[in-house]
């Protein structure tokens, strides 16, 4: 490691990220495509002698083929468990030997791999070589598949003891019905048992392709170096065509489900279909939701459920924007016997908010917090990397962060009321209550 050079350079570059609030670009995001069609998002930052690389694919659980529940999850889990001729343990050793950290992210939309490594030549090269193998040439060894299937099923079983996990899965199941978002991202134990090595190989080839890849790079390297890395990552991926968009979910009728669980608390979820990432109503709903249930102690929901009634430790609402309409969701947890009372308060708060909207003072408070807190959203390499991945994967405009504050500022009470009135019908909510029997 060439320590001294890095140290000096770090001091010189220390002000690169010290950005003023408005008027100027929040981040200098560089964007290009590799010759293979992978989309790349890059921010150079020389302050710390390290770099982060994230590669995402539309290979989340919503891409499980019919009758192949758990395939996306298992494929993702197998990537670093034997690749390019290296065993699972050899991969782990090679990374650990240079202090690199390889981690995965997986949800209904996305499957991705993140690498964090020192930027010094030896460390960086060893780490990147391993990342390349893991992404391009997973071996999917039969014995390892069998082992990881058992571990995946065990994780699903273990989560059944957690009423919050049970409630979250039941909520998606009820809200999305026949849509792929309905499924548990981990899959169903029976389906997992049926998966074959061929399933994994085919899934990998079709989904982990260069045209599907979004590569985010952040840290201590030049544009030329980033280009070389991105091209190297994309070069060995399959050329499978970009996947079509997911189908649009259909809004369900109102319903209320009660699921028994031997927990002391009832986990209450109330919600409906919300918005996709690129929805034009994103900002009015996002800012408005701060007042409803996103703004912690500023929010109407927490004030009512926690401060006024002492019903729950946590009570919240959020829009989780996804590839296609993600959920709008209210949640709380309270001891079983007061679940109905707490649910009533939550519903009344929602109905009242839809009817009246936020007050001018509440909206001003929301905007002050969101705009004033914007620098905290991009104050680390990790956070910036995550934004790069989201901007790339969901095809948000490249100036998304540059215009973020102005978009929040532009929201007024009328816009919030209008957006909520159109998008959230309190009479068509799906309600799931789990546990509280003990």
């Amino acid at each position: 490691m060439s320590i001294k050079r890095i140290a000096l350079r770090s001091f010189i570059a220390a002000f690169a990220l010290a950005l003023p609030l408005a008027a100027q670009a929040a981040l200098a995001i560089q964007h290009w495509q590799t010759p293979q069609g992978a989309r790349v998002y890059f921010v150079e930052s020389r302050e710390l002698p390290m770099l982060d690389v994230a590669v995402d694919f539309p290979a989340g659980s919503a891409r499980d083929p019919a009758g192949r529940s758990g395939l996306a999850r298992l494929t993702h889990g197998l990537l670093d468990q034997g690749a390019g001729g290296l065993s699972d343990t050899a991969i782990a050793h090679r990374l650990a030997d240079v202090g690199a950290v390889l981690s995965g992210n997986f949800d209904r939309d996305r499957a991705g791999v993140k690498l964090r490594t020192l930027s010094s030549a030896r460390e960086r090269e060893a780490a990147l070589d391993t990342l390349v193998r893991v992404l391009q040439r997973p071996d999917f060894p039969q014995a390892v598949i069998a082992r990881e299937k058992r571990r995946l099923v065990a994780a699903i079983r273990e989560a059944e003891a957690d009423p919050g996990s049970v409630a979250g899965k039941a909520f998606f199941r009820t809200l999305y019905g026949a849509h792929p978002y309905a499924r548990d991202p981990d899959g169903e134990p029976a389906g997992i048992g049926r998966l074959t090595r061929r399933d994994l190989v085919n899934f990998h080839r079709a989904h982990y392709s260069a045209p599907n890849a979004v590569i985010a790079i952040m840290g201590d390297l030049s544009r030329a170096e980033a280009e070389a890395i991105a091209t190297r990552l994309a070069a060995g991926l399959s050329a499978a065509a970009p996947l079509p968009a997911l189908p649009q979910p259909v809004a369900p009728a109102a319903s209320e489900s009660r699921i028994a669980h031997p927990s002391t608390q009832s986990h209450v979820h109330v919600g409906a279909l919300g918005i996709a990432r690129n929805d034009p109503d994103f900002f009015p709903l996002f800012v408005g939701n701060y007042v409803l249930g996103g703004g912690g102690f500023d929010s109407q929901l927490l004030k009512a459920v926690r401060d006024k009634h002492g019903f729950a430790y946590s009570a919240y609402s959020y829009f989780a924007p996804m590839g296609v309409a993600g959920p709008f969701q209210l949640g709380l947890q309270t001891k079983g016997e007061q679940a109905d009372a707490a649910l009533k308060v939550a519903r009344a708060t929602l109905a009242d908010f839809i009817a009246k909207g936020p007050s001018e003072a509440e909206l001003t408070q929301a905007k002050s917090n969101l705009t004033g807190g914007f620098p905290l959203r991009i104050d680390s390499n990790r956070k910036i990397l995550d934004y790069l991945s989201v901007i790339g994967f969901y095809r948000l405009p490249l100036d998304y962060l540059d215009t973020w504050i102005a978009q929040v500022e532009a929201v007024d009470v009328a816009a919030v009321k209008d957006a909520f009135a159109r998008r959230v019908d309190p009479d068509r909510m799906v309600t799931v209550v789990v546990g509280g029997a003990r």
């Binding site: 320590i3 950005l19 650990a96 690199a100 571990r151 065990a154 003891a161 699921i259 002391t264 546990g435």
Partner: protein, 452 residues
């Protein structure tokens, strides 16, 4: 009274960290500042040396309850107003209580430190605990206990094992408190706690970020300086009597899978320059666990496939005694006895054969890299400074941590494993899964209108 010194820590690979300034105000309040100009933000944390370790039987959990009440108003600031004003300034704020401390923090743009300090100084001296707000908040705390402990079988196992491993030391009591103590807690209990411990001479302010140390100190003097020091109660050590034999408990709780937790009494880091065993045990934890290349994962999960998960942990930075922990979940069809035997075999192998130079180098490489990576988080850097201060360790101990770890030899790791991972120091807990009520009934009222 002002001991102003700074450590330049160009000790190690890539140590580009700015100096840490450590000052004590005339009223005994300590101020630690770490300048880091990567982003125009700062984090401000006020740490009180008052945690569950300072509680008494009958009022367990009061440190954490007081943390909740600290947001409920002062003589000058109405209930809820603290959070509202920080939020209006774009801040994020919260608090956390541990065995050793209670800490309050704000993350904000760099120029808003004045507001954060003004509000923190106010609630250090002027808190008002009303019976009415207390009565509601204690319900919230009980819900928090249900959420985090009572309905999480592995948390219950941990809580009960600590209560078994420590028979005299207050670490045997849960931070959140026993439910019965919460049910009987009064507003006066919280007021007493506040009167006992919330004083500038029991507090440390840690500020990290795009700030200037001299300006932070000036602000601290302005806001906290006028608060008078108070006599603090003597703290008794309550040392745990030496364990005389292995202890075992079974915890029955609703769950699908069993779970095993093993805890050995282990040394605390006291003298960072002389103590070597804590560093050796940290390396040992890294050899056993931490990523896919470590022994528990490689051997138990991958090779033997006797566990679906297994990990080890050890934190020697604390006011009270430390523990070396190993936990694991057996693979389907594998018995708890076989799992425990496999863990013991891994330990015995290290005690017998030691660790390889390659393993040692690997763990050290991770330590060095992690030292760089952690600088990506301002909050984490401040946390570490606060943790060390509360544990009575100087910032130097943190700055030199990597050096001390790099000095550990394979022989020291083996010797530490031999000395500390003995049955006589061990307590074991097993989760015995109880039915989850196998048949969930789903009563859907499709299309029903809701009563609002």
């Amino acid at each position: 009274m002002r001991s102003h010194w700074a450590i330049g820590l160009a000790l190690l690979a890539g140590s580009v960290q700015a100096a840490v300034t450590d000052v004590t105000l005339d009223n005994g309040m300590r101020v630690i500042v770490k300048e880091d100009r990567r982003a125009p933000v700062m984090v401000s944390q006020v740490w009180y040396r008052a945690g569950s370790i300072d509680e008494f039987n009958g009022t367990t959990g009061v440190a954490h309850v007081l943390e909740h009440m600290m947001f409920k108003g002062t003589k000058n600031v109405a209930p809820g107003e603290f959070s509202k004003r920080i939020a209006a300034a774009g801040g994020r704020e919260n608090a956390f209580t541990s065995r050793d401390h209670t800490a309050y923090f704000q993350q904000m743009q760099k120029d808003r430190l004045d507001l954060a300090m003004q509000l923190e100084a106010d609630r250090m001296a002027n808190l008002v605990i009303s019976d009415e707000l207390f009565a509601r908040e204690i319900q919230v705390v009980m819900e928090e206990r249900r959420l985090r402990t009572d309905d999480q079988p592995q948390s219950v196992v941990y809580e009960r094992l600590m209560a078994t491993a420590y028979q005299a030391h207050p670490y045997g009591r849960p931070i959140i408190g026993w439910m019965n103590d919460l049910e009987h807690m009064t507003a006066q209990d919280a007021r007493d706690w506040y009167a006992r411990w919330y004083a500038p001479n029991n507090a440390t302010l840690v500020v990290a970020g795009d700030v200037r140390a001299d300006e932070v100190i000036a602000l601290a003097k302005k806001h906290f300086g006028p608060l008078p020091a108070r006599a603090l109660p003597a703290r008794k050590p309550q040392a745990e009597p030496e364990q005389l034999g292995e202890k075992r408990i079974v915890v029955k709780a609703p769950s699908k899978l069993p779970y095993l937790l093993m805890a050995w009494h282990a040394p605390t880091l006291r003298d960072w320059e002389k103590d070597s065993e804590p560093y050796a045990l940290m390396i040992l934890a890294g050899v056993l666990s931490g990523n896919d290349s470590a022994r528990l994962q490689a051997s138990l999960v991958k090779a033997q496939q006797i566990a679906v998960n297994a990990s080890a942990g050890y934190d020697p930075v604390s006011r009270g005694p430390a523990m070396f922990l190993i936990d694991a979940t057996p693979a389907p069809g594998k018995s708890m006895a076989a799992l425990e035997a496999a863990i013991r075999a891994e330990i015995a192998r290290i005690q017998r054969e030691g660790i390889s130079e390659a393993e040692l180098a690997r763990v050290k490489a991770q330590v060095i890299a992690a030292d760089v990576y952690q600088r990506d988080s301002l909050f984490y850097q401040a946390m570490q400074l606060g943790d060390h201060a509360i544990a009575g360790l100087p910032p130097e101990a943190l700055a030199r941590r990597v050096d001390r770890l790099r000095a550990v030899t394979a022989d020291e790791v083996r010797a530490a494993a031999q000395k500390w991972l003995q049955n006589v120091r061990l307590s074991v807990a097993e989760l015995d899964p109880q039915p989850l009520d196998a048949k969930p009934r789903t009563a859907a009222a499709k299309g029903a209108r809701h009563v609002h």
